[in-house]
């Protein structure tokens, strides 16, 4: 039986399509690169307009989120995700897409249990674990400081 199992695994590995791997990687690079470049253009424009770097990147975050929400509503962002894979999910625009998409999809279930709950489908875990992990790191840093190590 062991031999059969191994032979089966080898067979599965052989017939699983891997030829899409390189195109996937190329498209993720292209889409992710373009979104980050747009972010850089926006940041530079705000800096040229006299804003500080931190403020400029906060404005850029807002603009990217708003753009992603509009593109999601017009059903364009899902196509970008389909094409670019991780290239469209990793940037903040992917996060914005995952906030608005379920909110739109479930609006028929009402303000509270439709939009109100579903808007946090992805945002909830991201905010929870982001806040939790930075809190844990903060506690560690605080303790290390208290002992004079940091």
């Amino acid at each position: 039986m062991e031999i059969n199992k191994k032979a089966y695994e080898a067979y599965v590995k052989e017939v699983t399509p891997v030829n899409k791997r390189w195109p996937n990687i190329f498209r993720a690079f292209l889409v992710g690169g373009i979104i980050c470049t747009l972010g850089q253009i926006s940041t530079n424009l705000f800096i040229d307009g006299g804003l500080e770097k931190e403020v400029a990147s906060a404005w850029t975050t807002l603009i990217l989120i708003a753009s992603s929400v509009i593109l999601t509503g017009l059903n364009i962002y899902p196509k970008i995700v389909k094409f670019g894979g991780a290239g469209a999910l990793v940037p903040i625009t992917g996060f914005a897409n995952s906030v608005v998409a379920p909110a739109v999809e479930f609006k028929s279930e009402g303000q509270i249990f439709g939009i109100g709950c579903k808007i946090f489908t992805i945002a909830g875990p991201v905010i929870l674990y982001g806040i939790l992990s930075s809190w844990i790191l903060g506690v560690i840093a605080y303790v290390l400081m208290a002992f004079g190590i940091l």
Binding site: V31, C36, Y142
Partner: protein, 118 residues
């Protein structure tokens, strides 16, 4: 040069995650949580901020940058408010991103109609 760095660095981060997704079948939700948590850890050990200063939007636009700014907020708040700051800094630093996503997300859900998935 700014733009080349943003394109290449941002693109490469996405490539790493694409490879991860192709090999593990992790869903987008898990990927995003992973990115934010990793970003805050890389921030805390002092790697991400120098990297972001160099790579610009290539490092701040990916969700790793969101994690890094959570950590930055906590660290800054500890300096100002001590122990209480650990509870304060994360939300302060991420407030624009979270409020932006929720408010625009809500407005989007009011304006747009659901569509069939293609």
């Amino acid at each position: 040069m700014d733009y080349v760095k943003a394109f290449v660095v941002g693109g490469l981060i996405c490539v790493v995650i694409q490879i991860l997704m192709d090999n593990t079948k992790l869903m987008p939700g898990r990927i995003m949580v992973l990115l934010v948590v990793t970003g805050s850890i890389l921030g805390a050990v002092g790697i991400y901020q120098p990297f972001a200063d160099w790579a610009g939007a290539g490092a701040t636009v990916p969700l790793l940058g969101f994690g890094n700014s959570l950590w930055k907020g906590v660290w800054k708040s500890i300096g100002e408010d001590g122990f209480l700051g650990i509870f304060k800094g994360g939300f302060t630093a991420s407030s624009v991103g979270i409020s932006g996503a929720l408010i625009f997300g809500y407005l989007g859900s009011v304006i747009f109609k659901p569509r069939m998935k293609s």
